[in-house]
C-alpha cells in the first residue's frame, strides 16, 4: 500500500519527520564542485523537502554518515581517555549531543552498499564499536530510480532492486510524489499528508547503458597482466574513485598531540584509499604498490574478486560514481571488462590446466 503526495504534502511530511529524526539526504551544494560555479550533490542533514536533491545521483555517497571522512574517536589527557560523542563529522557541535535516530534517503545500489559496509565493520572479526554506535540509529528511505544514470551498471551487479530494509520509498510521479510505505507505524503520518492512497511499487531500472562482465575467477598469473599497465601512466593516484565509492571502507589513523610533550591530544580516523600515496607505506618507510597500475589492480580485484572470496558476493554495487568522478576518464567498468577478456584469453591458452586463484 502506498501514498501520493503533492509538493505541499511532501514539505509537511519531511518537516514532521525532521522533528523526530535527523534526516540525511542528497543535497545540491551550489558551487561546491571542483570547477567554478559547478554544483556538487553531497549528503547532508536537511529539515526541509526543498533541500533534497531527488533527480540526480549524488556525487559522494551516504557512507560519510556511517564512516565519516574524518572522525575523532577519542580524546586523551595525561591519565584519561574520553570517547568522542556524536554523529557525522567530528567537530560538528550542532549535532554531537543529538541522540535522535537518522533517516537516510538512498537509492537501491546504495542500500546494497550498506550490506557491504556492515560486512566489513560488523561481520569481519570483532565489531567496530564506532560504526555500531551510529549504525544502530540509522533507518533507510528508498529513493526510487525511474531511469538509469549515465555510468550506472547496477543491473549487471545485481543491485538494481533494493533489499527490503527500508521504511518507505520516495520518487517523483505524475501526481507529484509517490511513496510505498513498508513500516506500518508510519502510516498515520502519511494519511495526514497524502492526497490519495494507491498501490506504489518503487521504481527500479532494468536496463543500464553500461554493461560489466565480472570474472568468475582470476588466475594468479594475471597479477602481471598487461591489462594493468596502461594505468601506470593514465592514473594520477588521486583516490577520488574510492572516496566517492559507497562500499570502500579503508581508513587510517591520525594521532594528534596538542602539546609539546604529547600527552594531550586526540585520535582521529580518516578515510584512506588504496589509490593514494602512503596507503601501502609501512613502519620504516618502505612502500608497496608504488605503480598506479598495481594500485588499480588492487582496487579492481578488491571490488570484483577478493571481497567475494571472503563474503560470497561482490563488493562493487555498480553505482558508477567512480566512473563519474575520475579526472583522467579512467573507467572502472571498462577495466573490469578488460580483466574479464584477459581471463578468457588465459583460459583459452591454458585449457585443461587448473588455475591458481589470485
Amino acid at each position: 500500500m502506498g501514498y501520493v503526495l503533492d509538493g505541499e504534502g511532501l514539505d509537511g511530511l519531511v518537516r514532521e519527520l525532521a522533528r523526530d529524526y535527523l534526516v540525511f539526504a542528497p543535497v545540491r551544494k551550489v558551487g561546491a564542485g571542483r570547477f567554478t560555479d559547478v554544483d556538487q550533490v553531497i549528503y547532508d542533514f536537511v529539515d526541509d523537502a526543498s533541500q533534497i536533491e531527488l533527480d540526480v545521483k549524488s556525487d559522494y555517497s551516504f557512507k560519510e554518515l556511517l564512516t565519516p571522512l574524518s572522525q575523532t574517536l577519542f580524546y586523551y589527557t595525561e591519565d584519561q581517555v574520553r570517547e568522542a560523542g556524536g554523529i557525522g563529522a567530528a567537530g560538528d557541535p550542532a549535532r554531537e549531543g543529538d541522540a535522535r535516530d537518522v533517516l537516510v534517503l538512498m537509492r537501491a545500489c546504495d542500500l546494497h552498499g550498506v550490506k557491504r559496509l556492515d560486512a566489513m565493520y560488523l561481520h569481519n572479526g570483532p565489531e567496530d564499536s564506532f560504526y555500531r554506535r551510529i549504525r544502530d540509529r540509522v533507518h533507510f528511505v528508498l529513493l526510487g530510480c525511474p531511469q538509469t544514470f549515465e555510468h550506472c551498471f547496477c543491473v549487471d551487479m545485481g543491485s538494481n532492486v533494493a533489499p527490503d530494509n527500508w521504511e518507505f520509498s520516495l520518487e517523483r510521479s505524475d501526481e507529484g510524489y509517490a511513496c510505498a510505505v513498508a513500516n506500518e507505524s508510519l502510516r498515520p503520518l502519511f494519511e495526514r499528508y497524502a492526497t490519495a492512497s494507491r498501490d506504489v511499487v518503487p521504481a527500479h531500472v532494468t536496463q543500464n547503458e553500461v554493461h560489466v562482465r565480472v570474472p568468475k575467477t582470476v588466475p594468479l598469473e594475471l597479477r602481471t597482466s598487461p591489462v594493468w599497465d596502461e594505468y601506470n601512466h593514465r592514473c594520477i593516484g588521486c583516490g577520488r574513485c574510492t572516496l566517492v565509492c559507497p562500499t570502500c571502507t579503508c581508513f587510517t589513523m591520525q594521532d594528534v598531540a596538542y602539546t609539546e610533550n604529547g600527552r594531550v591530544g586526540e585520535r582521529r580516523r580518516v578515510q584512506a584509499s588504496c589509490m593514494i600515496d602512503g596507503y601501502s607505506t609501512v613502519a620504516g618507510g618502505a612502500s608497496y604498490r608504488k605503480q598506479h597500475g598495481e594500485r588499480m589492480r588492487f582496487k579492481v580485484l578488491h571490488k570484483v574478486y577478493d571481497f567475494r572470496q571472503r563474503f560470497g558476493y561482490d563488493m562493487c554495487v555498480g553505482c558508477g560514481r567512480c566512473d563519474d568522478v575520475c579526472p583522467e576518464y579512467i573507467s572502472f567498468a571498462a577495466c573490469v571488462n578488460k580483466l574479464s577478456d584477459a581471463v578468457d584469453e588465459w583460459d583459452a591458452q591454458h585449457e585443461g590446466s587448473v588455475a591458481r586463484d589470485a
Binding site: A32, T36, D37, Q40, L69, G239, V270
Partner: protein
Amino acid sequence: MIQDIDVKAMKKNAFRVSKERGMTASRVRVPGGLVSAKSMARIVEIAEEYGRGEIFLTNRQGVEIPGIHMEDMPKVNEKLKTIIEDTKINQEDTSQGYLASGTRNVVACPGKRLCPFGCYDTTAFAQRMDHEIFPNNRHVKVAFTGCSNDCAHVALNDFGIIGMTEPQYDPNRCIGCGQCVDWCQRRSVSALRLEKGKVVRDEDRCIGCGVCVVYCPTRAWTRSPEHYFRVKIMGRTGKQNPRLAQDWLRWVDEDSIVKIVKNTYAFIEEYIDPNAPEGKEHIGYIVDRVGFDEFCEWALKDVELPEKCQRATRVYWDTKRYDRDNNLR
C-alpha cells in the same frame, strides 16, 4: 581615378592603412575573443568577396581582413552590420562600420566556460567591459584572464584582470592526504602545509588560483561564492620602455573594476600629451609623468573598494628604458 581619402577618419573606422597603395584591411572587433560561427561565416564572406580570401587572426583576438580596396569600404561596412549586432558592440548606428578603434579589442582567455582553472566568466566580463568603454578613441588595453596562470597575457595590458577564488576549507571533509599541499607547490606558490593531519593556508602567500580546489578529492576545499580579482596595471610593449603590468589591487570586485577603468578615461583626457601622435599615448607614460598618486586619485573617484580588497600604495615597474640606454651588457 581620383583617390581622396580622409585617412584619419578611415583608421578611426577600423580600416588600416596598408603599405600597398589603395588597399586596406578591415578590423573586426571580437570582445572576449568569442565569435559566433554565423559571424565567422560572414567574415569569411567578406574576405572572399572584397578581400583576397585571407583572414588574419590578430594578437588581441580581433580578426583582420586584408586585401580590401579602399573604395569598397562602404560595402564592407554594410556587411559588417550583422557582425556588429551579433557581437553586441555598443553602438546604436550599426550601418557605418565600427565608430572607433582607439580603445583596443578587449581580450579574454576562455575562462570558466571551458577551462578547469578559470575562476570566473572571462567572456562575459570582457563583453561587459567592452560595452562600457567602447566606442572610444583613447588607446586603452584591457584584458581578462581566468586565473593566475595568465594565459591571456594580461600583464602586457594597461589593465590586466586576473580571476581569484578564496579557497574555503572544511576540516571535517579533509582526510589529510596532502594532495592540495603537493599541487599548490607543484603548480602554484606553496601556500599550503599539513599540520597535525589538517591543512593550513598561508593567506598572504595564497594567490587564489584554486588549484587546491581542483585537486582535493573530498571537496574539503571549495571555491568562495564570491568571484574576486587581482588587477595589474600599466603593462605595455613598445619602443621606449616596455614593461610588465604590476599588481595594484587584489581581492577586488567586478563593479569596482568597471568604475576604475571608466574613470581612467577622464584621467587620460586631463593629462594626455597634447602632441601625442594620433592622440594616443600609453596610459603608463602619463602615469610616469604625473605620478602614481594622481592616477589613483582619478581612477578611484567614487569607487568604494570592498573591505577585503588590498591596494598597493606604491607600484614599481622596473624595466629597461630604451629611450635612455640601448646598450647590451
